[in-house]
């Protein structure tokens, strides 16, 4: 019989996080000896839906997907399930669709909580905080924001978010927004950011004002952020193990597609951790830094 083909779909290849995810999917697919059809959602639920539909026409044997938006992609995933194609979701979990083979993920809400908890641990006596949120309305932005607030809202008295703005996950915007925040509110103790790009932008803004002791937290554990953590410029970043998630997902999908091997667990949850200077070795991509 021909080689199996699987679809690997990620939300947006403009962001390094997902480039890494797709690269890992690619590597694992090669290791498993299956063909891979790549799909980039280009930050559009309709584009990612269309890619799934095209893949179904081509009769792929399995789908490994990190959905851009769990609600909006649900119908397309349901369609795939109905067509008898096994689906494994990564990173973001789709509820409400019956028959998804497995989910491998690290919850963004949990990640947000971990990030906030790390910050709380660093400032046991309370802190003045800036919070940079992701793109308004985007799934991960909503979840990470929820996580941060889950932790900080009950501790309102000690931990005040004096400045909370979106910087759309973008470095240049984070830089401008942080500059405005610093000018308006003076130096904070910590800046909590919904991704690493924004953390790196905030870092530049603080450096320009010589506020080198502000503790800045990122999210995603990109190599660039890991370098900054190592150099002491960022306080930490949240690691969700996207590579491990991806590889696991591909293994589960291929196993099922080959001989209907049911996965041992339907739900593989990796606990997000905060990478700091002391546990850099735990970071998945530490090898990519120099």
């Amino acid at each position: 019989q021909d080689k199996l083909t699987i679809l690997g779909s990620v939300p947006n290849l403009g962001f390094p996080f997902f480039v890494h995810m797709l690269n890992e999917i690619k590597a694992e697919a090669a290791a498993q000896g299956v063909n891979l059809t790549e799909s980039d959602g280009q930050n559009s639920a309709t584009k990612q839906t269309a890619d799934i539909e095209a893949a179904l026409v081509q009769k792929v044997n399995a789908i490994v997907i990190s959905p851009l938006d769990v609600n909006a992609l649900a119908p397309a995933i349901e369609e795939a399930v109905k067509a008898g194609v096994p689906v494994v979701t990564i990173d973001r979990r789709v509820d409400g669709v019956e028959g998804i083979l497995a989910h491998v993920g690290a919850d963004n809400v949990k990640g947000g909580e971990a990030e906030a908890n790390a910050m709380v641990a660093a400032f046991p006596n309370g802190a003045k905080i800036f919070h940079l949120q992701g793109q308004p309305g985007a799934g991960p932005a909503i979840d990470r924001n929820k996580g941060v607030h889950n932790v900080l809202d009950p501790l309102k008295d000690k931990y005040q978010i004096v400045f909370e703005q979106t910087a759309n996950f973008a470095r240049a915007e984070a830089l401008s927004v942080t500059e405005a925040g610093l000018a308006a509110n003076g130096k904070p103790d910590a800046i909590v950011c919904a991704n690493d790009d924004m953390a790196l932008g905030a870092m530049e803004a603080c450096a320009a004002r010589n506020f080198t002791d502000v503790k800045i937290y990122g999210f995603d554990a990109l190599p660039e952020a890991l370098v900054a953590v190592r150099d002491g410029k960022l306080a930490g970043t949240v690691e969700q193990f996207p590579g491990e998630q991806s590889r696991t997902a591909v293994r589960i999908a291929v196993a099922f597609a080959k001989d209907k091997t049911e996965p041992k667990e339907k739900l593989v949850l990796l606990t997000p951790i905060v990478i700091g200077k002391d546990n850099l070795d735990k970071a998945e991509r530490i090898g990519e830094t120099k």
């Binding site: 639920a45 839906t49 269309a50 938006d69 609600n71 309305g137 985007a138």
Partner: protein
């Protein structure tokens, strides 16, 4: 220029001539042939219906945008307005419980699909009308008004949804996005019906001809006794209506209304119209062209994805082919005229 206008002497439409004189159509046919040769399953009816369903959302808005651009106007707010109308439709469909995230399709306590549809198109048309009034009364250029609209509607959408999506509609509503009539997807049928209607309106009604006149030369149109301002307001109402309709179909299809829906749609929609031969300076263009433009973009995306072209390369190829399609059209026309 007008696709639908290429007729032979006896009044019938001469397809060969049409094909030879309208570059984008020729390009579309060529692309389909190439993709089919590369992968015969491209021609699988399921895939073709997928494509029609995929282009129906932006296609619907592009129909309305054709009216606007024919008057030398522009509407940059359509993507945000789509999100806004979608959110309104969701709130209505779910009976006002703005933040219900349940995906369950059972026991809707809302007002049903019809109320949702009505709310979406009325809100869309009204929002378009307000923008039209600002354009005509306060004499602010359409670019500025609708750019303002782009950010205002997005802000409103985020405010009513509090950033999150509203998901889980009942089956009767979802049918408009996912249903089939025979083998044909419902969104594609809605798009086709709307396109035919728009074609008839633009080509065979006095109103439609007035739209062309206003775009050709607004001052002359006024001197000829047309109510230019009313016509200008009306085209923004129309594009708003279509943004609302598209929002309803999209929400039904995704079973979810998202605050981030439609970001960047303005460019896709305007591309479809412009590639279809409608002039941004007004007065020239046709619905047929817009449909071809939308189809060209849809086929390109689907075909490249079908052949597993890397997404970076996809961007490059799509950009180049869009330019080539229009360049080819200009070349064909320059051979025929002057």
């Amino acid at each position: 220029m007008s696709v639908a206008g290429e007729r032979d002497q006896r009044g019938g439409i001469n397809f060969a001539r049409l094909l030879m004189s309208f570059g984008p159509l020729l390009f579309l046919v060529a692309l389909i042939v190439v993709f089919t040769v590369l992968k015969p399953s491209f021609m699988d009816p399921i895939n073709l219906f997928n494509i029609t369903r995929q282009i129906s959302i932006t296609g619907l808005i592009a129909l309305g945008m054709t009216f606007v651009i024919l008057t030398a106007g522009i509407d940059l707010s359509v993507g945000s307005l789509l999100a806004f109308c979608g959110m309104v439709a969701a709130v209505v469909a779910k009976g006002g419980s703005a933040n219900t995230l349940s995906l369950s399709t059972s026991g809707t306590q809302g007002f049903g699909w019809f109320a949702a549809l009505l709310a979406a198109v009325v809100v869309g048309a009204a929002a378009g009308g307000v923008q039209g009034l600002v354009i005509t009364r306060l004499k602010v250029p359409p670019f500025v008004v609708t750019l303002g609209g782009l950010t205002v509607f997005r802000g409103l959408t985020l405010t009513i949804s509090n950033g999150g999506p509203i998901s889980g509609f009942d089956a009767s509503m979802r049918w408009f996005g996912t249903g089939l009539i025979g083998p044909v997807p419902v969104p594609a049928l809605i798009f086709a019906a709307a396109a035919i209607l728009c074609h008839i309106v633009l080509r065979y009604t006095r109103y439609g001809r007035a739209v062309y006149a206003v775009g050709g030369n607004a001052e002359a149109a006024r001197l000829s006794g047309l109510r230019v301002d009313r016509i200008l307001v009306s085209v923004y109402v129309i594009v708003g209506f279509f943004a609302g309709l598209a929002a309803f179909v999209l929400s039904a299809r995704l079973n979810s209304s998202e605050a981030v829906a439609g970001i960047g749609y303005e460019l896709t929609v305007i591309s479809a119209v412009v590639i279809g031969g409608t002039s941004l300076f007004g007065g020239i263009g046709s619905v047929g062209g817009t449909v071809v433009g939308a189809a060209l973009i849809g086929v390109l995306q689907n075909g490249l994805q079908f052949n597993n072209v890397s997404s970076y390369t996809q961007s490059i190829v799509i950009g180049l082919i869009l330019i080539l399609a229009v360049a080819f059209d200009r070349w064909l026309k320059s051979r025929v005229r002057r």
